[in-house]
Symmetry: C2
Subunit: 216 residues, 2 copies
Amino acid sequence: MVRDDFHERLAALDASLVGMAQTVTDMMGRASRALLTSDTDLAERVVEMDASVNAMRNRVDDQVAELMTTRPPMAGDLRFMLSAIRITGDLERMGDLSKHIAKIAIMRAPASAVPTEAMPLFTSLAEVAVRIATKATQILGTRDQLDATQLSLDDDEMDALHKRMFAQLLSDWPYGVEAAVDFTLLGRFYERYADHAVNIAHQVVYLVTGDVRLRD
Amino acid sequence: MVRDDFHERLAALDASLVGMAQTVTDMMGRASRALLTSDTDLAERVVEMDASVNAMRNRVDDQVAELMTTRPPMAGDLRFMLSAIRITGDLERMGDLSKHIAKIAIMRAPASAVPTEAMPLFTSLAEVAVRIATKATQILGTRDQLDATQLSLDDDEMDALHKRMFAQLLSDWPYGVEAAVDFTLLGRFYERYADHAVNIAHQVVYLVTGDVRLRD
């Protein structure tokens, strides 16, 4: 009975992580829409959602701490619990970064923080960011190591977009310094968001194999 | 005997964290000097140091995993081990951010990434970043909650410098877009570095009180 209860609680922890990942994926989709359409109501919703992500993180971390005192964990369960701690850290940052994007949208409204010509680029950035986060969420549920490895390809796409952004910024930029600052920060936020999603995939590989390599 | 060995290993873990914190503090000092003097040799050293910080993180995380399987941890020890996992994450990022600063120095050399008039501002940014990291390192050693709370004041100073940076950037910026991009990213790197150091202090509060509040 104790064992069953323990594994039920592990499964609950797993579900919490997936739920948190879905929330930050949703936040990125909304933040990007808010940015591209200067929709401050939507942006404000993203800012509110961030508080609930922080609360989710605290709850998950408490779940882990509780589970660990229940009994000496076996290697596999222990790996999962340690990964959970790292994953909530990544997810919390993904929430923050979505919020930062929403806040830039709010700060510049009713104007747009994104120059019209850069709209297609930002549409791609948003599309890739949401795709990577969606895959990371699935990987959290399935623990499929192969998917986790393939996520690096999506991340390469993000890096390529990021490079294109900077090329645009440095070759011919008629929009002034304020827009350049927004552009630089926004690019950084999308890139970091994707990095965290890829970190989560790496944690799943650690879960499955016990081995983790730090990138960067 | 088992108990003594366990506590010896906890103390060793503690010492590893302090050592890692000293290294990333040192990295920030060197990266800033490299940036302000366009010293590419020094900057390259910082880039190399980052690899050893990543290795330190993996080692500390392994130490934690090993300790946790030794026996069911008591509440206080468990808090310490969970904090250690989060703290190595923060320290690893502080290493990355120092490396990013060093890489901008390398990219712009023999020119300087920092316009002459902004040198005093960057000297202050570097000074505050190193001061915050030094205090965070001390707090890791002493677990003094009061110091941890006071670190927020230093962080306010960092935020004020960061605001001054942006004011300078947006009021009168004769240096062109590339320099504005560097300036924006550098500001972000210093700010994030300080945030991570403050996170570490918050983790120490959690260690001591069992309570942690997520900022942001």
